[in-house]
C-alpha cells in the first residue's frame, strides 16, 4: 500500500472502510461506479461479484457510497470510536 496518512497517522492503522452486506446487496454496482478511489473490485465471473479490495483507499469518515446504495447494504465503523483511535495513535507516536 501507499504510505498515505490521515491526520498524520498512517492510513493502514485506521480501520475505516465500507462493509458489504451480501444479503442485501444486489450487485447493481452503483457504489463502485460512483467512488473514484478504487476501493471496490468487480469480479464479474464470480458469485460474489463485488468485494472491498483496497480498504485503505477509502477516505476516512466518508460514507458517500452508502448514500447511493438503494438496498442500504453498506455499513461503516463507528465515527467516534475511530476519532478516539486516531487521537490515541497520535499520542503514542508523539510520545515515542
Amino acid at each position: 500500500m501507499s504510505e498515505t496518512t490521515f491526520m498524520g497517522v498512517e492510513r493502514n492503522k485506521i480501520d475505516w472502510k465500507p462493509t458489504i452486506d451480501y444479503i442485501k446487496c444486489d450487485f447493481c454496482m452503483e457504489c463502485t461506479n460512483f467512488c473514484p478511489h478504487k476501493v471496490f473490485e468487480v469480479r464479474e465471473s464470480e458469485e460474489i461479484k463485488l468485494i472491498v479490495k483496497n480498504p485503505d483507499n477509502c477516505v476516512v469518515f466518508c460514507r458517500a457510497c452508502s448514500k447511493i446504495c438503494g438496498p442500504d447494504a453498506l455499513s461503516f465503523p463507528d465515527k467516534n470510536a475511530t476519532t478516539q483511535k486516531i487521537k490515541e495513535i497520535r499520542k503514542e507516536e508523539s510520545n515515542a
Binding site: F6, M7, E30, F34, P36, V59, V60, F61, C62, R63, A64, S66, K67, I68, C69, G70, P71, D72, K79, N80, T82, T83, I86, K87, R90
Partner: protein
C-alpha cells in the same frame, strides 16, 4: 402543510418503499388541494408538470437512496422545497418494511407516521434563528485545474479537516461549511438537509447533508459542540453553497465545547491547500 404542494413521488412499483411513496402521495391529495406529478408521465409530457412545479412548492418523496424522484427533479430543473426518503424514515422510526408489494401493518404504520409529520411540521425551520449575514470578505488563494478554479480562504480563524469541511471560529461559536472542492465535485446543489437544532455533535460527526443530482455529501463537522443555528437561507437557496461556499453558503453554527481538543485534529490553510491540490490532481489526472 398549509400551502398547496406539487408532490413528486418515487414510482417504484417493484419495491415496497416505492409503493409506500405512491400511497403517501395519494393520501396527501385526498380532499386537499395538493396535486401529484406522475414521474412516468413527466418523462413524456412535461408542460403541465413544469407549470405546476413553477407555481407551487414541490415535495419530493423518494422511496430509497437511489433517489429517482430527486434526480428527476434535478433533470427537470425543479426546485425542491421539501423531501422525504421512505427507507430513511423507516430506519429513523425503527419500522421494518417488507420485501413484497402489499401494504401491511408495518407499512401502514409508517405511512401514518410520515403523514402526521408532514402535516404537523408545516415548516420546522420557522423556529430557527439565523443571522442573515455571512459576508466576511475573506482573503482567498486560488488553484486552477483545467476550467475549474478552487478558492480557499486564508484566515487564521478558519480550520479545515481532511474531509473538505471548514470551521470559522468566532469566539465560542463556529460556523461550519464545505470547501470549494466539495461544491465543485457535487456541481449544482439542489437540497440542504439541516441538522436538528440543539443536537450535540462529536468532532467528525455529521451535521447535515447536501445533495446534487450526482451524489449526497455529509457535512463532517470539524468541531464538537451543540448546534445552535442553521443557515435558513440555504433551504430555499442551496445554490449559495456553489456560489459562495465559505461565506453566504455557511451551513451550521455550533457552540463549541472543546475547541482546543478539536484543533489537534484540524489543519490550517497551508496544509489544507496542499491536500486539496493533491486531491484535485489525483482525481483529474
Amino acid at each position: 402543510m398549509l400551502e398547496k404542494y406539487a408532490i413528486l413521488p418515487c414510482n417504484g412499483l417493484d419495491k415496497c418503499a416505492g409503493v409506500i411513496s405512491g400511497e403517501i402521495a395519494k393520501k396527501l391529495c385526498e380532499g386537499k388541494k395538493n396535486e401529484i406529478i406522475c414521474p412516468v408521465f413527466y418523462r413524456v409530457a412535461e408542460t403541465k408538470y413544469n407549470k405546476m412545479a413553477g407555481e407551487h412548492p414541490v415535495l419530493v418523496i423518494d422511496g430509497c437512496q437511489t433517489r429517482c424522484a430527486s434526480k428527476l427533479a434535478a433533470e427537470k430543473n425543479i426546485k425542491i422545497s421539501r423531501k422525504v426518503t421512505i427507507t430513511e424514515e423507516a430506519k429513523a422510526h425503527n419500522v421494518k418494511i417488507n420485501n413484497n408489494l402489499r401494504l401491511l401493518e408495518n407499512e401502514n404504520a409508517l405511512i401514518e407516521i410520515i403523514l402526521t409529520a408532514l402535516n404537523k411540521t408545516e415548516d420546522k425551520l420557522t423556529i430557527i434563528h439565523a443571522e442573515p449575514s455571512g459576508i466576511y470578505d475573506f482573503e482567498y488563494d486560488t488553484y486552477q485545474h483545467g476550467k475549474f478554479i478552487f478558492r480557499v480562504p486564508r484566515n487564521p480563524e478558519i480550520y479545515y479537516n481532511e474531509n473538505d469541511c471548514w470551521a470559522y471560529i468566532i469566539g465560542n461559536h463556529a460556523r461550519v461549511g464545505v470547501t470549494d472542492y466539495v461544491q465543485q465535485n457535487l456541481s449544482d446543489i439542489l437540497y440542504f438537509t439541516p441538522p436538528d437544532i440543539g443536537g450535540i455533535i462529536d468532532q467528525f460527526g455529521d451535521v447535515g447533508e447536501i445533495e446534487s443530482s450526482k451524489s449526497v455529501f455529509e457535512l463532517i463537522s470539524p468541531v464538537s459542540g451543540k448546534v445552535i443555528s442553521i443557515n435558513e437561507t440555504l433551504v430555499q437557496k442551496p445554490e449559495l453553497i456553489n456560489e459562495n461556499p465559505y461565506e453566504l453558503g455557511w451551513m451550521v453554527e455550533i457552540e463549541l465545547t472543546d475547541i482546543e481538543g478539536d484543533k489537534e485534529l484540524l489543519i490550517g490553510f497551508d496544509k489544507y491547500f496542499e491536500i486539496m491540490k493533491k486531491k484535485v490532481e489525483d482525481l483529474n489526472g
